[in-house]
Amino acid sequence: MGRYILRRAAGLVPTTLMLLLLVVILIEIIPGDIIDLMLQEKYGAQSEEVRASLEAELGIDKPLVVRYLEYVGGVVFRGDLGDSLWSGSSVRDLIVARSIVTIEIGVLSLLIGIVAGISLGIVSALKQDTFTDYALRSAAIFLVSLPSFVMATAVVVFPAIWWQTGPSLRYVSFTDDPVAHLKIIIFPAIILAIFLAATLMRIMRTTMLEVLRQDYVRTARSKGLPSQVVVMRHAARNALIPVVTLIGLQITFLISGSVVTEAVFAIPGVGRLLLDAITTRDYPIVQGVVVVVGLGVMVINLTIDLSYAWLDPRIRYS
């Protein structure tokens, strides 16, 4: 097990280097240039000297390879993600400050989504081909097809137009007022959770139906075990493996969904930091967020892989 973890962790290194390279190249090829944006309001001459001077000041005048190596060196040896080209602030500090609320929302939405998705999936499987089953499946299909940004905008805008009420858009941190903070983050968390829950419900229902038809479940029932024990201990646990895999994949959707939901609900999280940075072509922030999120996804996927053994003792790592 230990060797497996080490091997998987070592595999993260080339993946991370590739990710860094990809990020640096992507930034290079997307249309739009920060110097143009900085000078768009400038009155007077915008000579090549002016541009060159600014590029040198911002450190973006060096060749791509040099910038890549410097960036990798900074990340690997100093944990330095660079500085914002606009404000000069440390990208690492910005990401740390913004990531707390994003993690809160992510964890909350995961909890809500997992609990709701798995529970409803089990219910739907147990009530197969009943009204409850049809209703849950229809609702799941509807919610999966509804983008999170549409739901987020609807939750903010429609109550405001119709009843002059809605979620607060003045962000309060947990340390300032925990209750007010929870009232603010609960809406984006639920909206992000809905997609996750609907997706999980569908896969949980399918796998549960498969598992419920297995011989060992029939054996468990014939032994006279209570139905609750059969379902929860013998069926549901085994049905969870594909569900857990799906949760790992869905985390990336949660992160991408947070970009829009944070913007709509005025949450100062990493998603909005990324969105603002892309708009203003603040390359170090874009790079930093992508690297941190990428590493996070890799670590989460590793954790999920390791959880298979706990869920199914037949799985062994070697």
Binding site: P31, G32, D33, D36, L37, M38, L39, Q40, E41, K42, Y43, G44, A45, Q46, E49, V50, R51, S53, L54, E57, S84, W86, S87, G88, S89, L94, A97, R98, T153, V156, V157, A160, I161, W162, Q164, T165, G166, S168, L169, R170, Y171, A263, V264, F265, A266, P268, R272, L273, L275, D276, I278, T279, T280, R281
Partner: protein, 611 residues
């Protein structure tokens, strides 16, 4: 002595006002065509009054003011109940001092250096300017300056008397020290790029101080500005929101700590949470008294960051925010239906929209042809494009119509191409010109039309233009190229790789500097590479002129040439804009004009809570 006598061209200002009034009344006629009002300005007035117990303003000091309203505030020149445009009601209810003003903004400031900061409205809250510009006439209103004179008739020297005893905020690094003429002189020199060893590459407004040699403090309250060559607009440059005065200590710290942005302004920044909010507290020792109209009526001003436009509207509808700026037509409908007693302010914006053609591309020879410029000018549907922004607008030439030097919008409205009643004739003339140029019915002309957004007013403008061309120049091929963000648009614009483009420009508060930027061969934003020696001479002459009449006379031939012959950069219209406030907000003096959009409301010092 006033360096610029803006009031002397009253016929122009009256002409414009008359046009506006007629437009507001919905009268038919040629002058009415200058402004597309459809009689809705009176509706705007009603909406302004609404349930907010408002009474119309009438210019001069507030009459019959409610208890507590500043006694000596001066209303801006645009304040008149008879005007359809720029009409602002006054909430005359009793003032309730204190409390919080809550507003939304799209971001916390990212660049604290005022010379690199766009717009500057937020920094204008913590700092002051030497002058303000009347929101309607752009006339100078002294602010930090007490008086000024121009001893040299050629305009090569300016003497500014600064208010004595201006206190700075009691926070580091200034700690309440007095802001003197020495600070002002240093700051002017930094703005103009006259300090040794200061890289001005990214200084956005250094070009406004063209011709300046140096500024020097004669004593604690007197500043002398010495010019190498005349620049009649230099004092107006000081009215720009980005032209705030600040102390050297902040520059020494490289403006790195936003919580140490000590200034002299009405507000002290007490909290800065990056990407979340900025909190300001009223400065009790601010140099303007309450009755003078300047000290904030609120104790605190909380600017919360709301990145999404729809969420901003929602925040206003729920009462979470007290104001909402630059209201789009569809947003106006939502707000009017949900908040019937909201307080509306309509003003001429400081921006003008344009359509640009790139004559620098070898593969597009048609855009080098003056006949094509003229044909495009004749064939644009100005009202349709303008109404994507607001239901009212001003026709304009190369000097934006909100400037008193500009050719009156009523006159522009009569010209072929602009006059709606002769539009068919204009289209026929456009087709004749294209035919003569070898592009019968537009055949052979094709271009990609860059837009800085994939939705919203600019996109709608392009759609309407494309639709009009399809009907009237059927063989011309126009492909819309919307961009998700402005960055690729700006890159194509600055790199001069665009083919056709539409967006807007925000004006500086001086007509000569404005027209120079876009139409002078050395203009900083002359992305079309337009070069006309006669235009350069006219613009240079305008910059050097010292009176409004001289400036207007100098530039008029160039305006007429552009309006009758076309240029690759075609000004489309000057926009109107709406602000809306909750009914319990009062204040807002000296505004309702071109430069209010980024100046007075930005400082929020003119507001108070009412019963």
């Amino acid at each position: 002595m006033a360096a610029r006598a803006f009031g002397t061209l009253n016929h122009q200002r009256l002409g414009r006002r008359a046009v506006l009034r007629r437009g507001a009344l919905g009268l038919a006629g040629l002058a009415g065509a200058a402004l597309v009002g459809c009689g809705d300005s009176e509706e705007a007035g009603d909406a302004s009054g609404g349930g907010a117990a408002s009474t119309p303003g009438s210019g001069g000091a507030a009459a019959a003011a409610g208890a507590g309203i500043p006694a000596n505030i001066v209303r801006g020149g645009g304040w008149s109940e008879s005007l359809g445009v720029g009409y602002v009601s006054i909430n005359n209810r009793e003032v309730v001092m204190g409390g919080d003003l809550n507003t939304s903004s799209t971001a916390t400031i990212v660049t604290q250096d005022p010379e690199r900061h766009f717009g500057g409205a937020d920094l204008a809250a913590t700092n002051d300017r030497l002058f303000l510009a009347d929101g309607w006439s752009a006339e100078l209103i002294p602010d930090m300056v007490e008086s000024w004179e121009v001893p040299d008739p050629q305009g090569l020297e300016y003497i500014l008397k600064i208010r004595p005893g201006i206190k700075t905020h009691p926070i580091p690094p200034l700690n309440g020290r007095i802001f003197t003429a020495h600070d002002v002189a240093w700051c002017i020199n930094r703005k103009a790029g006259k300090l040794e060893g200061v890289d001005t590459s990214a200084f956005l407004r250094v070009g406004q101080y063209v011709g300046m040699n140096r500024a020097e403090a004669i004593d604690d309250v007197t500043v002398r500005i010495v010019m190498d060559s005349p620049n009649g607009g230099i004092l107006n440059s000081f009215t720009h929101p980005g032209a705030i005065m600040y102390a050297q200590e902040l520059a020494d710290e490289e403006f790195k700590d936003p919580t140490r942005l000590a200034g002299t302004g009405a507000w002290i920044q007490t909290e800065f949470v990056e990407g979340t909010r900025q909190v300001m507290e009223a400065f009790p020792d601010y140099y303007r008294s309450w009755d003078e109209g300047g000290r904030p009526g609120f104790d605190r001003w909380v600017r919360s960051v709301v990145a999404d436009r729809a969420s901003m509207v929602a925040g206003f509808l729920t009462g979470e925010f007290d104001s909402f700026n630059h209201v789009a037509p569809h947003e106006k409908q939502q707000i009017e239906s949900a908040v019937s007693d909201a307080w509306w302010v309509t003003a001429i914006d400081n921006g003008w929209n344009y359509f640009g053609m790139n004559p620098n591309l070898p593969e597009m020879p048609w855009f080098k042809d003056q006949r094509v410029w003229r044909a495009m000018q004749l064939s644009l549907d100005y009202p349709a494009m303008a109404r994507t922004n607001h239901d009212q607008f001003l026709y304009t030439g190369p000097v934006p119509a909100m400037f008193p030097e500009a050719k009156p919008t009523s006159e522009v409205a009569q010209l072929l191409g602009y006059n709606e009643e002769t539009k068919e004739e204009a289209v026929q003339e456009a087709l004749r010109l294209l035919d003569a140029a070898g592009y019968r019915n537009g055949a052979g002309i094709r271009f990609k039309y860059d837009i800085p957004a994939a939705s919203g007013p600019y996109f709608d403008m392009a759609i309407r233009a494309q639709d009009f061309w399809k009907r009237n120049i059927p063989e011309m091929q126009v492909e819309l190229q919307p961009h998700a963000t402005s960055a690729p648009f700006v890159e194509r614009q600055v790199g001069r790789t665009y083919e056709g483009r539409t967006w807007q420009y925000a004006s500086v508060p001086d007509a000569a500097l404005e027209v120079r930027t876009y139409f002078h061969s050395e203009g900083g934003r002359n992305y079309e590479g337009y070069s006309d020696p006669a235009a350069d001479i006219a613009i240079d002459k305008m910059i050097q002129a010292q009176t409004l009449e001289e400036r207007a006379d100098a530039i008029r031939p160039f305006e007429d040439k552009v309006l009758n012959e076309g240029t690759p950069l075609l000004p489309l219209f000057v926009r109107m804009t709406d602000w809306v406030y909750q009914s319990t907000i009062g204040g807002f003096d000296m505004v309702s004009g071109s430069f209010s959009g980024t100046s007075y409301p930005g400082t929020q010092r003119w507001f108070w809570r009412t019963k």
